[in-house]
């Protein structure tokens, strides 16, 4: 076991639920992965159209907002209702140094993937050992 405790690279901002323009929003489930070159956030935002996604990165805080268009009439009666529909909101404090210009995102099938490439300074570096001549 290593004695080094590594700080988490990405932390939830203290206020987990934040009001959006139109009231409270749902907190989407997220996977956060780290590879040598980037951090990747994978987020479930079913029912969201690509144009309704709003991703923002400022001062180390990544914020995702997604509007969900209503799919039923306001007075719809249900035989079974196990989930609600509304907008999504979640934000994270990113500790790692990020190459802000290199941030990219893709969206398909209700899943949003955000790629946060590490800044050069934060990448692990292999030092080649030259043979002394």
């Amino acid at each position: 076991m290593t004695s080094e405790t590594k700080e988490p690279q990405v932390q939830e901002t203290p206020t987990a639920e934040q009001p959006t323009n139109s009231g409270l929003a749902y907190r989407p489930n997220v996977d956060i992965l780290e590879s040598e070159n980037e951090l990747t956030l994978v987020m479930d935002v079913p029912g969201v159209e690509r144009d309704s996604l709003d991703i923002d990165f400022a001062e180390g805080v990544l914020t995702v907002q997604a509007r969900v268009a209503p799919r039923y009439a306001a007075n719809q009666r249900f035989l079974l209702r196990e989930y609600g529909i509304g907008s999504f909101y979640r934000s994270f404090q990113v500790g790692e140094q990020i190459d802000v210009d290199g941030i990219s995102a893709e969206y398909a099938d209700g899943v949003l993937r955000i790629h946060l490439p590490k800044a050069e300074a934060a990448k692990p570096r292999k030092i080649a050992v030259k043979v002394a001549s």
Partner: protein, 147 residues
């Protein structure tokens, strides 16, 4: 997406690792135990109009090829799987999204026309439209004037 239409009475009991009942609150007809709150994955919203029953589920990241929807003897079954995206040299810092197999069976509150069931998957939302059988449609009863 596989859309199976099975009307034959096959032994379904073994398929059911869970079972919910839809309640139709109409003259007590078909009143069965109410669906438990933790009914399983995927969660369902179910509603009806005069012609059809609609069942909707949120299935982000599930490909239509990995979905199998079937209607048989009064049950709607939604089966499928979602895979993780683990890879070489990738560490998880947080893992909230579930992965693996799922299987949900819902008892339909009335007879549907299994031949005309349709399903669509859009932006991670599955919508199954189950047209009612003629016998299940609302009927207008003409009232004859008393002599």
């Amino acid at each position: 997406m596989v859309l199976r239409r099975l009307n034959t009475g096959s032994p379904v009991a073994q398929l059911r690792n869970e079972m919910d009942w839809l309640v139709q609150d109409f003259f007590g007809r078909g009143s069965r135990p109410v669906a438990p709150t933790a009914a399983g994955f995927p969660a369902l919203n179910v509603w009806e109009d005069g012609d059809s029953l609609f069942a909707e589920a949120e299935l982000p990241g599930v490909k239509s090829d990995d979905l199998d929807i079937s209607v048989m003897v009064g049950d709607l079954t939604i089966q499928g799987r979602r895979s993780t995206m683990a890879g070489e040299g990738v560490a998880f810092h947080r893992q909230e999204r579930g992965a693996g197999q799922f299987n949900r069976v819902v008892r339909l509150p009335f007879e549907v026309d299994a031949q005309r069931v349709e399903a669509s998957l859009r932006d991670g939302v599955l919508l199954v439209k189950l047209p009612k059988a003629e016998s299940a449609k609302p009927k207008k009863i003409a009232i004859r004037a008393a002599e």
